[in-house]
Amino acid sequence: MLRLVLRCDARFNHGGCRVNKGPFIFLGAFASLALSWLGLVLGPQLQFGGEQPQKIEDLNVVYPAARNGLAQQGAEVYRALGCQHCHSQQVRQEGLEFGAKLTAPGETPAKLAAALVKLGLAQDVAGANAQLAKLPLTLGADVELSHAEFLVRTVKDADDKAKAEITFKNLGADLGRGWGVRMSTASDYLFDQPVLAGSARVGPDLANVGVRAPEKYSAPWKFTSTNTFAEFRAWQLRHLAEPRAVAPGSTMPAYRFLFDQRAEGKVPKHDAEALVAYLFSLRQDVPLPNAPLPRVASVKPAATNAPAATNTPAK
């Protein structure tokens, strides 16, 4: 039966074509593979291969900074335990929402008031003056960039000493969950080896877990003291040892083998401590030229050791 199958196959498959196209196939295949390699490997390498940490003038920090030793060991633990198979480290953003804001009046409040009336922000001059009394004043929210520019220009035309600025808000489901304050960019991964951006979200995104507000965890909790790192560490260790004790219904594996069972209770091994240090180092909250942050968000330099700036959603 099988021989027959094969014989008839030979007959069917060889109808007509007698030319040896072997070399032709090799050449074509090589060319197309080379093309994709140029596009997806060499192209990005030329664009990013030489990238260096950049100086962020506003904050006077260099970003990104290399991890400290313990956190770097923790990155190895994270990779070896395969956390990246459940946790992504990439924050998505779906655009910006613009607005305009008046922060200080200039020298001719009367003209300013008239402009506000013209923009429809006040019924009459008296109303406008009342508005001007309590600055900052929102000139527009959730508008197109061009309209925000128009609002600022109108105010400046009326009174060129007045201080008006365009505001924006980063938008997206991830940001709304408090998983980050801006999108992830190429610079964020400069010192990661390997890059563990992940491809699945069985668990929450961890790109910013080091600065996540406790109430934004999937199992919310609260700081009870000012020693936030100690509390962060305690929570993470408890969660690693017994995720379902902290987050009922969680499907995260319990990493009990990262702890020694002693008389005084569970004592974290070195790997657990390193892992916590790594989690604490995960933050993408420095504004970058291609991923800016609204100025209202108070951002502390990433180099400090305290999670002062928590990721409240950009509201």
Binding site: L2, V5, F12, V41, G43, R92
Partner: protein, 495 residues
Amino acid sequence: MVAPLNPTIPPAAFSSATGNGTEPAASDAGGGCGGCVARGPILVLMGSGILWLVAASLLSLIASVKLHAPDFLGACPWFTYGHVKPAAASAFIFGFASQAGLGLVLWLICRLGKVTLCGWFPALTGAALWNLGVTYGVSKVLVSGGSGQEWLEFPHGASGLMMLGYFLIAMPALITFRKRQVPGLSVAQWYLLAALFFFPWLWVAGNALLVCEPVRGVVQITTGAWFRAGLLNLWLTPLALAVIYALLPAALGRPVRDRGLAAFAFWTLVLFGAWTGLAQTAPVPSWLVSLSNACTVAFALPVLAVAVNLELMLKSEVACEDASPAVPFLAFGALAFILGNGLHIFGAVPYVAKFVALTHYSAGVGALLLGGFVMMSLLGGLTLALPDLFEMDWPKPQLIRPQFGALAMGVALTSLALVVAGLQQGRALRHAAPFLDAVKGGQLFLVLASLGALLTLAGVALFALHFGLLVCAVCRECCGSCCGATPASTTEGAA
């Protein structure tokens, strides 16, 4: 030739299609002791491929169960989710698919070219090295975790052994190919040559740039995407398509209709194949994402062309019960190729991607492409190849149907459940639903996915068992003929 024991396969279905039924069959790959030895490496590749498939199915069942019952095997660090998941994928791709695929490539090269394998010894050594590499790699992933690069989880040593093994197998394959007695190239041979050519480039470049001397930062993301898309679309896919194109027309008694269309499918596949992997959400410049996206959509061209090509064949009048038992496997594989890629392209549409990116959806598509398309096509190939190589029919042909049934249902259930779980998860995550509610909402589908994995494992185990029976029968017959005892117990019918 052994008479078909399966009463549902009348030899007439095939012999009517062959012009010359008297040609001595033993001349093409079998006869003589040289032929016997030449089959060694092919059988080793296929046999160890089947064993790896059992291991891989078991590991993916464990990984799948852990997603809804996280404490299952929870105490053992080897079997933590972050180890079993990559171990299962590696065992499947490198242990089973690549290995059984290489075995089938050697077999097809001999068969389609009517030659005996040249250089059986290097090929056998190669098979041994490949297995050594995969064993080392998978154990390393289980014991201490992978490299963190998906599908490239193995340590250098393992990848190096595999590369060496690959060359020792591919060289004899190419030499044998050049010695073929049948001039010209069939569609199956295009795919098989291309696959043989692509693998070493992908493997060397992938390992060099991501594991040995890693590129920095996001270049790792684009390189990883290139490697994975390449491995799927330029290595596993051509292997499986070669099997389908070689065997389905013959098994159905119908030719590949339109060689022009087949050539179009081939070249578009080769052109766009490596581009389709970059996720919508990847934190890389948007020009790259757009380019990858455009190529993903363009990948519909080869898929449609293959679909039309095969549709012409599948519209055959050969009634199902007349067809070879391999036909359902091959047809399922072809269907899964079309559906799986269709879902992949659908998931790349920017609006849809907002929902499905980073969810179980891609796991579902992966299950359909790897389990449905690659696994089923290769098993269909093995169903035909193994009896041919052993010169003995399957001892229990009635087992082939249940094998197919369990595998088809298992793969379909797993993929469907994961795709639905992904859609559900994507919807919940885009809306304000608390994360844990989204997790709970997906549990049912993940349980169903595990059920599918269980069925798949059952089908695979049955296949392996059947293979074991075949090997036993061959051994018995061998002993019988050597020692002069009557092979009364063998199931062989007289030809």
